[in-house]
């Protein structure tokens, strides 16, 4: 997920060598060779067109058509009915809450990792564990939490029998939207570690030394030096976490079999229930709604990312 943090430091270097090494002048590329090189790009281009561009366009466009194939805005206006708006609302709420918790806890882990050797054993283990857990979505995560805080889960039983605390005193909430918070946090924290850890390399020990030499306190260093430098990266990672939770489907699908409380589940209902007329095109409208949210969030992310990379060199 953190690929957008991938720096492009070689950009300048490449152009420089291109200019200093005018291979073009030495070996004049014949038109045929150039055309051959372009032809080399076509397989990938065709693949991306068929399996990425086309589905995306189809997903968005179907929302504008009715069942009999005529143009309509019914599905789009359908997005603004109270039910669908409430679904988007709980998706926002769930994504927001888990993104904030994930970002704070993840940043704490990153802080604890400050000063450990890059490429050292501790770092490799934590980074690998974080990559696994960030990928650990879906069905398996649902199993893990049913085994942990399900009605007969390990933690549920220990709390009930040993401490007399019944976490489900007000009814079983694991299979509702609030039940998604803990499983989501479980993959949000590792994602935060993956995306935020590289940003911490921007903190130079010299700054802390300079601050201390000038009589700065611990608080002053974090408040006036570290925080402003890290703020764009932190907010960017927060947005990425939000997008991650917002688009996550598998865990919710495995935990919540009844009802469609969040947008991805609403899409599932629209796709699966072909019996309800016009529902399939509703999936298109929902997909459009999701894409709009994702584009806005990811755009803000890339803006913040550009500010972050300023310090990371």
């Amino acid at each position: 997920m953190s690929l957008a943090t991938a720096p492009a430091p070689e950009q300048d270097g490449v152009e420089l060598t291109a200019r200093h090494h005018p291979r073009v002048a030495l070996v004049k590329p014949s038109n045929r060779r150039r055309r051959l090189a372009y032809a080399g790009l076509t397989p990938f281009a065709a693949y991306v067109l068929i399996f990425l561009a086309l589905p995306t366009i189809l997903a968005v466009v179907t929302g504008f058509f009715s069942d009999d194939g005529s143009l309509t805005f019914d599905n789009i206006t359908g997005l603004f009915t109270p039910t669908i708006l409430a679904t988007f609302g709980s998706s926002f709420w769930l994504s927001g809450v888990t993104a904030v918790i994930g970002a704070v806890v993840g940043a704490l882990i990153c802080y604890a990792m400050l000063g450990t050797k890059v490429g050292g054993l501790l770092r490799t283990i934590i980074e690998s564990a974080a990559s696994v857990l960030a990928q650990f979505g879906g069905v398996m995560l649902a199993f893990a939490f049913i085994a942990t805080i399900g009605v007969q889960g390990l933690v549920t039983v220990i709390l009930r029998d040993t401490f007399g605390v019944d976490i489900f005193a007000d009814g079983v909430w694991l299979y509702q939207v609030p039940g998604l918070i803990l499983p989501y946090v479980y993959f949000q924290v590792p994602l935060m570690v993956i995306t935020f850890l590289p940003a911490l390399t921007a903190l130079r020990p010299q700054w802390a030394e300079a601050s201390a030499t000038l009589g700065g306190t611990r608080f002053a260093y974090w408040r006036y030096i570290a925080a402003p430098v890290l703020a764009p990266a932190f907010l960017g990672s927060l947005l990425l976490l939000f997008a991650n939770a917002f688009s996550s489907f598998a865990t919710a699908a495995a935990l919540i079999s009844q009802g469609s409380q969040i947008v991805p589940l609403q899409i599932r209902a629209a796709l699966v229930s072909e019996t309800v007329l016009g529902r399939e095109n509703m999936a298109g409208a929902l997909a459009l709604g999701m894409i709009v949210v994702m584009v806005v969030v990811m755009w803000a992310y890339s803006v913040l990312q550009a500010r972050t990379s300023r310090w990371q060199k």
């Binding site: 152009e15 090189a37 990425l52 589905p55 489907f249 598998a250």
Partner: protein
């Protein structure tokens, strides 16, 4: 004067060795880094909390139904002669997922890798475009993509048949961001231009350059891209589920309704496999810089 100095004298000799911990201590003292105690405390507590669900899963696999006691029968049951028949559906799904992982890796190696090398060498201006294309799958998540994939796959089934492996075309898209990042990191770190120019000066054709010069240098990136692709494909649920295909994850969900213990055992195994794959990626990545400098 010389006498009091002499005991101090040897100190500078060992100073370089001691310097690193010393400056680290200083960083701790001025608050830029956490102390060892604080670090252990934070990582210990959070790590401990994150271990709970995994422990709960392991504990669950030894439970004897709702009886409250423990049994190893869920584990031993997997190694009986009947197991191949009892869990036929699950084994079939694992086979499907492994085939999907293999085809997805093939797509990455055959379609993405050559394109990235070509863009890197011949069309540096297209680098940004390629990067943009490769991170689109993050903005257009699987749950959105699947809405448009349904009509695309109704055509794919007509052309290529309804075998499971065709799903790998969709998976190739979902792994694009991860595979791109892994390969690009490696491409940026080796002097592609210099290497290929040196080779062609010595009379190598482009195929020779690609096969004997670039690929060996890109080994780490390619391996990392392959492993992360395998990990992603083995964990994929959304597309398979909504296109009504059977893969490991959809089968796990189905099995969990009749035999949750076995489902959890297989989930743990998949988790362990993913951890090993990503640990190898981590070691590959960290081993790179020191090697490359030589």
């Amino acid at each position: 004067m010389a006498a009091p100095l002499s005991p101090v004298e040897p100190a500078p000799a060992s100073a370089p060795a001691e310097r690193r911990p010393k400056s680290a201590n200083q960083a701790v003292r001025i608050g830029a880094e956490p102390s060892t105690v604080a670090r252990r405390l934070i990582l210990g507590i959070i790590g401990g909390i994150f271990l709970i669900p995994v422990i709960a899963m392991i504990e669950f696999t030894f439970r004897n139904g709702l009886a409250g006691d423990y049994t190893t029968s869920h584990w031993t049951g997997l190694f009986t002669e009947d197991s191949a028949r009892t869990y036929r559906g699950l084994y079939q799904a694992i086979e499907n997922s492994l085939v999907l992982a293999a085809v997805t890796v093939a797509i990455v190696l055959v379609l993405l890798l050559p394109t990235m090398v070509l863009v890197h060498m011949q069309f540096p201006r297209l680098k940004r475009t390629l990067e943009f294309i490769c991170i689109i799958p993050i903005t257009v998540p699987a749950i959105v993509l699947v809405v448009g994939l349904a009509p695309v796959y109704s055509v794919v089934v007509q052309v290529l048949g309804g075998s499971t492996w065709t799903l790998a075309f969709a998976y190739g898209i979902t792994v694009l961001p991860y595979a791109y990042r892994a390969i690009q990191g490696n491409l940026d770190a080796i002097p592609v231009k210099t290497l290929s120019e040196a080779a062609s000066t010595l009379g190598a054709g482009w195929l020779t350059v690609l096969w004997t010069i670039l690929l060996p240098n890109l080994r780490r990136g390619v391996l990392a891209a392959s492993f992360i692709s395998i990990a992603v494909v083995l964990g994929e649920f959304t597309i398979a589920s909504l296109l009504n295909r059977r893969n490991l994850q959809t089968a796990l969900l189905q099995v969990s309704q009749s035999d949750p213990w076995v489902a959890v055992i297989f989930a743990l195994a998949a988790l362990a496999l993913a951890f090993i794959l990503l640990l190898i990626i981590g070691r590959l990545g960290s081993a790179t810089p020191s090697r490359r400098k030589s």
